[in-house]
Amino acid sequence: MSDSAAEHVVEIEGLLNTVGPGIVLHRDLELRVRRDEVLSLVGGSGSGKSQLLRVMLGLKAPQAGSVRVFGVSWRDPRWKRVRDARRRMGMLFQNGALFSALSVYDNVAFPLRERGGLLEGEVRSIVHAKLAQVELDPSHGALLPANLSGGMVKRVALARALALSPELLVLDEPTAGLDPDRTTRFVRLIKRLREEQRFAVIMVTHDLMPLYELTDRVAVLADQHIIACDTIAAVRRLEHRFVQNFFGPERRRAADGG
């Protein structure tokens, strides 16, 4: 493993990513995510945040450029290396993406059982510990995803993403669709879990609240690449239309008021 890989959990270099024939979404995109940091990815609608996340997660192959997570390229033919890299990260999908045929308990147990090597009793203890971490009761374990509220789906999905004690947690709009109170509680939850478990976080968000509360660095995606990746204070000084609108005084007031 190179020095860079020891320092960075995600390294993206010279990324060229297109959708459909001839529509370039990202060009010459560079992004490095350090260990133990919370990096937020912001950008206007249609700037390709979700697509960048898909490329980063290896769900979509880019046209050119390299994507390495934990120093492993998704194109690596040694699939066991790829699988092991995947097991070091957890993903919270925007809509949870819980397995609808499995109960809450089985959803959280799924990654543990897939990894193998544990007795069922050990799996049970870990699942209950993870449910407790996201402030869910063991009695919720028997419910099916269809019977959960939006906030609960997110917490179960978070418990599943944390099941293998990942070193990297990827959050796709974690607070979208939550009311302000739930948003606050969700952000506090992530904050507390991070203090306990020290994982890196990559978060796509439109909400200023989680941004100010959690983020170490902000990466701004605009004009097909990352135009800045720095602390909020530094990024806010940037002369760019999107940045000025996003961190503008009106939104700031709204975030403080809410």
Binding site: R86, M91, A97, F99, F110, E114
Partner: protein
């Protein structure tokens, strides 16, 4: 006080730059206008034919205006320079006027080469399916080889659930169809054979036909409709709800976790279903031969092993296992290609069933040629 209905008064002047003064009043809303198309349209169309600069409009008495009213009026007003309108209606009217300028989407010209392009695209599409399916088949073979080294990792619960779902629950309908086909086939054969006095040959015809061909075919066609469509729909919905993505992100192989158990389950279940279908069809044949040809069930059953070599039975069962594999594999192939939208899901299920049945028939033809000297 009720609002007066829409009205249009036109005053004609003999000379001067303005030839017509139009006073519009009342409620120009959909509720009021929907019954008035007949009497208002001629007046509006007449004004449309005037050059816009010759008409002066007074809309100040319009009590209510909505999009419909605005569009009707804007058509006639066009770029008229003299329009008096209440401030609260001005924006709506201007927007309607601008909207009328937007040309309707032009129809794409008919391409004379379109049929050739379509055929070419279909051929490329077919090639792509074939390539992807071959790749998936290879990946499944690799996973299966790995699993055979660690038999403890076999998803036994999923396998037994799959065998139950696509096997046991399919029995009533498949056996009913088999029974009825047995009756029809025997009856029709009996009618012909009676003429030549070759009554006993009915046992050969029905026996070989059912055990070697019809049993496996019936079972797999019903499996394609029942289990194949269910598999495609299930995988398709998993794509829509991002469950497939969630699996991939966890490093779980969709081929090993989703495809392999379904394929093995149907390859196990279908031969069993075929066996039961054979039994039901022979029961039908037994019944008909008793009443139309007077062959007693005992005589029928005694003659059956002599008329039908046992290899035919094994060919039928072996073919069923291959058909079961093919049906589940095709269903998984189409299910995993569903895009996250409802249209694609519906199309995927349809194509899956059609492709599964076609594949079964093609494979059956291949078997018929390969095994022509056997049995």
């Amino acid at each position: 006080m009720p609002i007066p209905s829409a009205a249009l008064e036109v005053e004609t002047a003999a000379q001067g730059p303005v030839r017509k003064r139009v006073r519009v009043s009342g409620a120009w809303t959909f509720e009021h206008l929907k019954t008035r198309r007949g009497d208002l349209t001629p007046a509006i169309e007449a004004l449309e034919r005037e050059p816009p600069e010759h008409v002066a409009w007074d809309l100040t008495d319009v009590a209510e205006l909505d999009d419909v009213g605005a569009v009707w009026l804007a058509r006639a007003i066009r770029a008229a320079p003299r329009v008096e309108v209440a401030a609260r209606h001005r924006l709506l009217l201007n927007q309607a006027g601008e909207a009328l300028q937007v040309p309707a989407a032009a129809r794409a010209p008919v391409d004379p080469l379109a049929p050739i392009v379509t055929v070419g695209r279909l051929a490329l599409d077919f090639g792509e399916h074939l390539r992807d399916a071959t790749m998936r088949l290879g990946l499944i073979a690799i996973r299966a080889a790995e699993l055979s080294q660690r038999p403890r990792d076999l998803p036994l619960r999923e396998l037994s659930a799959g065998v139950f779902r696509s096997g046991v629950t399919a029995l009533p309908v498949t056996m009913l169809v088999g029974f009825l086909v047995g009756i029809v086939l025997t009856y029709l054969s009996a009618l012909q054979l009676k003429r030549y006095g070759a009554d006993l040959l009915v046992i050969n015809i029905v026996g070989v036909g059912v055990v070697r061909e019809l049993g496996p075919m019936l079972a797999s066609i019903i499996a394609a409709g029942r289990s194949g469509s269910a598999i495609t729909a299930q995988l398709g919905v998993m794509r829509v709800t991002e469950e497939i993505e969630a699996l991939s992100v966890m490093g779980v192989s969709t081929n090993a976790r989703l495809v392999l158990p379904k394929v093995i389950a149907l390859a196990i279940a279908l031969p069993l279903v075929t066996f039961c279908t054979d039994l039901a069809a022979i029961a039908g044949a037994l019944l008909v031969s008793r009443f139309t040809l007077g062959i007693t069930p005992a005589a029928f059953l005694e003659a059956l092993p002599r008329a039908v070599e046992v290899v035919n039975f094994w060919i039928g069962i072996g073919k069923s296992a291959v058909f079961g594999f093919a049906v589940a594999f095709v269903a998984c192939h189409f299910g995993l290609r569903v895009l996250p939208n409802t249209e694609s899901l519906a199309a995927g299920v349809t194509r899956s069933v059609v492709a599964a049945i076609t594949t079964v028939i093609v494979l059956d033809a291949a078997f018929a040629i390969l095994l022509r000297n056997v049995g």
